[in-house]
């Protein structure tokens, strides 16, 4: 495999980790907003304790995506930054407000009205940010970003303010909320709280299904080449079947309260969806003007970067494992 393809693969892997880990932190924010009933406070506390120790580490996956993108594929980063200036800026505001509001809530006065005010900022930012992230990815896949000599030729709104990217935005939100609800069933030993998040996960699973079909339908005109990629290629059918198995598996195991299995299935489902998108868009970084090969940095940069990625991963994964073993291994479901 070509060096640049391996590194593009590393970007996809980082994005998948960001979705599985960072995405679930955003999903937690969604359920913070939709906490209701007599256990609303307990639900919020569970979400807070689940996110607290890990959200900052999980957030770094996104930074990794960005730095690897601009190191290995500078023209792609440049083009995306120009064409999607507005949604990226909004995304940043969402990232800033989500992170700070969450932290401020933890350390501000523990009075209910103060807590709720920060909670509202945190949860609304947790909803807006994934939507914008999806919008950005949708716009990149749509094939509408056209760049000539560093000049965006289609305006700064058209590429992302369209049905397809916006549908992808809501798809991303649904996936993150789904993941969060599934994970949260394993964060508590309390049966009723587990049930709360089980029901939320089941509802989210249905919404994910609806959004998946919507995105697929809109891709017909919104992202024709990617749509062709996930419809007509030999691997597409296999991928659809696999994704389907994981989706049904997640639903079934939630239904039967096999939460560990549900977690694996849900994570597998999200991973396959992102992989499907990545394969369908291959070999383009930005449809249709910038490909992996055309945007690749000189070979020496790619070699050094790959070395750094391998060395970094050797350092990162044991640390990450340690973090999760400390904070995520105690709560055993009943």
């Amino acid at each position: 495999m070509e060096l640049e393809t391996i590194i593009a693969g590393a970007i996809v892997v980082s994005l998948i980790f960001y979705a599985l880990l960072g995405g679930a932190d955003y999903g937690g924010g969604v359920w913070d907003l939709f906490a209701f009933g007599k256990r609303a406070k307990k639900q919020r506390e569970l979400i807070t304790s689940a996110i607290g120790p890990v959200w900052e580490a999980n957030h770094v996956w996104l930074i990794l995506v960005i730095v690897v993108l601009f190191t290995a594929f500078p023209p792609a980063f440049s083009a995306i930054s120009i064409a999607l200036h507005i949604p990226l800026t909004l995304l940043l505001i969402g990232i800033v407000l989500r992170g700070t509001a969450f932290t401020f809530r933890t350390y501000d006065v523990q009075r209910d009205n103060v807590q709720r005010r920060w909670g509202l900022v945190f949860s609304i930012a947790s909803i807006i940010t994934p939507i914008l992230l999806g919008v950005v990815l949708g716009a990149i896949a749509s094939g509408t970003i056209r760049i000539e000599e560093g000049i965006v030729t289609i305006g700064f709104l058209n590429s992302w303010l369209a049905p397809f990217p916006i549908a992808v935005g809501f798809f991303a939100l649904a996936l993150f909320a789904f993941l969060a609800a599934v994970y949260l069933t394993l964060e508590t030993g309390e049966y009723e709280l587990q049930e709360d998040f089980r029901i939320r996960a089941l509802i989210a699973a249905i919404v994910v299904g609806i959004m998946a079909l919507t995105v697929f339908a809109l891709a017909g005109s919104g992202a024709p080449r990617v749509r062709a990629g996930i419809s007509n290629t030999p691997w597409a059918l296999l991928l659809h079947i696999l994704t389907g198995i994981f989706a049904v598996g997640a639903f079934y195991s939630l239904w039967t309260r096999k939460y560990r299995l549900a977690r694996i299935a849900a994570a597998g489902q999200v991973t396959l969806i992102l992989l499907g998108w990545a394969f369908a868009q291959y070999p383009y970084l930005v449809e249709p003007d910038i490909s992996i090969t055309s945007a690749a940095a000189p070979r020496i940069t790619l070699q050094l970067l790959l070395t750094a990625l391998i060395a970094g991963a050797l350092l990162l994964f044991p640390s990450y494992y340690y973090l999760f073993r400390i904070f995520k291994s105690e709560t055993v479901p009943k």
Partner: protein, 451 residues
């Protein structure tokens, strides 16, 4: 406001905001680790209380630093995409390494902040040490990228295009070592003095509070040692600037005419129209000695370079004077503190901290380190203008084609002012609220408050 100015302002504002939190993120883990290490050694609860209350403040500041740092990494592209298109392959390396350092920092900070009761004390301290090391490394990698913008190496320029790149040579650029040492020391010095100032303020309100005495001592040792070392790194950096960026040196010294045996100008205001720096105290030959180690060395003046290559001279010169002034004041206070400590070391009746005037000076000195950091970055960044990559690419060539950049500039400014107010309020609340608890606690555990 035109788009270029808006883009530059947004970048400047974002950096000025983030650098405070970044510096705290580098230095606070060291302070927390010292406190926790003292706790492990002495088993005095007050040290544990100290480590924990510093950790709370750090948690808030680190979160703001993490998200404002994310903003910066996106802004490189959002504001100066053509800079990234040309330089990404060259300076992406330090940024990628920074990515992993930051990963390590975030992971172990999570463990440190939330793991007090979950892992053994030694492992906990080790997590803190990991945060301190990776925090310093994060800062160092980012500053290496900035150093490259000042003294770009590791490529050939053919028809305005960067070719034959060597990312390792780019990282080894001549400004990398002096700039990283200077900034890392600055982070410890500024944070040390800020923290010492806060605890001095509390000691004025509650004299003899052992918690605040110990806190002040640790912070001042870290801040003082680094501020005393800082002139060495500053000298190293100034010599590098003199060699590689003569226009920047001329601007920060207010040197208009090329001169051998040039004097060092202390203070003063450059008069750009008439090409002279007024009201400065001139120390004969000192600039030639400091910049080149030879009293008769020739220092090239601004007039030797075309006007369109001059940075805004007044801003750069004044900022440099403020930075150096802050450093000198902090060094003076450090010497005073060391003298007091030495004088009262064998006098159990009087603590070296037992002087209202000394504490008041520490309070006033609290923001000086951060003022020095801000003005120092103004010297570095404004002093490099009109270049974004010195001698290779102008800032105006790098800016995005996106119109209406004044809108995100104002948006982020308002957002950051809001965050600054909230952060300051939360820290203030903690500082003022904690001592009551601490005293009760110290009494509970029988720590001698009168110490």
């Amino acid at each position: 406001m035109d788009d270029l100015l808006a883009a530059r302002s947004q970048m400047a504002m974002s950096l000025a905001f983030h650098i405070i939190f970044a510096a705290v993120g580098i230095a606070m883990p060291v302070l927390m680790c010292i406190a926790e290490w003292r706790w492990l050694r002495t088993r005095e609860e007050v040290y544990l209380t100290l480590a924990k209350s510093w950790a709370k403040g750090t948690a808030i500041l680190f979160a703001v630093g993490a998200v404002s740092g994310t903003v910066l990494s996106f802004e490189l592209g959002l504001l100066f995409p053509r800079f990234m298109a040309h330089a990404g392959a060259l300076i992406g390396m330090p940024f990628s390494l920074e990515g992993f350092a930051f990963f390590t920092e975030a992971i172990f900070l999570g463990i440190y902040l939330y793991g007090w009761n979950r892992i053994p004390p030694r492992s906990h301290l080790l997590a803190g040490v990991m945060v301190a090391i990776s925090g310093a490394l994060s800062g160092i990698f980012v500053v290496i990228a900035n150093a490259w913008m000042n003294t770009p190496t590791g490529f050939r320029l053919v028809d305005g295009k960067i070719v034959d790149i060597d990312p390792i040579a780019a990282m080894m650029n001549p400004s990398a070592l002096p700039q990283t040492v200077h900034m890392t020391l600055a982070a410890y010095a500024a944070t040390g003095f800020a923290v010492a100032g806060i605890h001095a303020f509390m000691l004025l309100r509650r004299p003899h509070n052992r918690f605040h005495q110990l806190a002040l001592s640790i912070a001042l040792v870290v801040g003082g040692v680094t501020v005393i070392l800082q002139p060495l790194s500053g000298d190293l950096l100034a010599k590098a600037v003199a060699r590689n960026q003569p226009v920047k040196l001329a601007a920060l010294e207010g040197q208009f005419e090329t001169e051998s045996g040039a004097p060092l100008r202390i203070g003063g205001i450059p008069d750009v129209e008439n090409g002279t720096t007024r009201y400065a105290i001139e120390v004969p030959y000192a600039l030639s000695i400091l910049a080149f180690g030879d009293p008769n060395a020739t220092v090239r003046g601004l007039n030797e370079f075309p006007k369109d290559l001059h940075p805004p001279v007044v801003i750069v010169h004044v900022a440099f004077q403020i930075m150096v002034g802050c450093g000198i004041l902090m060094a003076a206070i450090t010497i005073w503190a060391a003298w007091r400590f030495w004088r009262f070391r064998k006098n159990p009746a009087r603590s070296w901290l037992n002087s209202k005037w000394f504490l008041r000076f520490l309070v006033v000195a609290a923001p000086l380190g951060f003022l020095a950091i801000e003005t120092g970055w103004i010297v570095t960044e404004v002093g490099r203008q009109p270049w974004i990559i010195h001698g290779v690419m102008r800032t105006s060539e790098a800016v995005t084609s996106m119109p209406g950049l004044v809108v995100p500039f104002i948006t982020f400014t308002v957002l950051y002012i809001f965050l600054a107010i909230i952060t300051a309020w939360l820290l203030f609340r903690q500082v003022v609220a904690s001592p009551g608890n601490i005293e009760t606690r110290s009494r509970d555990i029988g720590v001698n408050r009168g110490a």
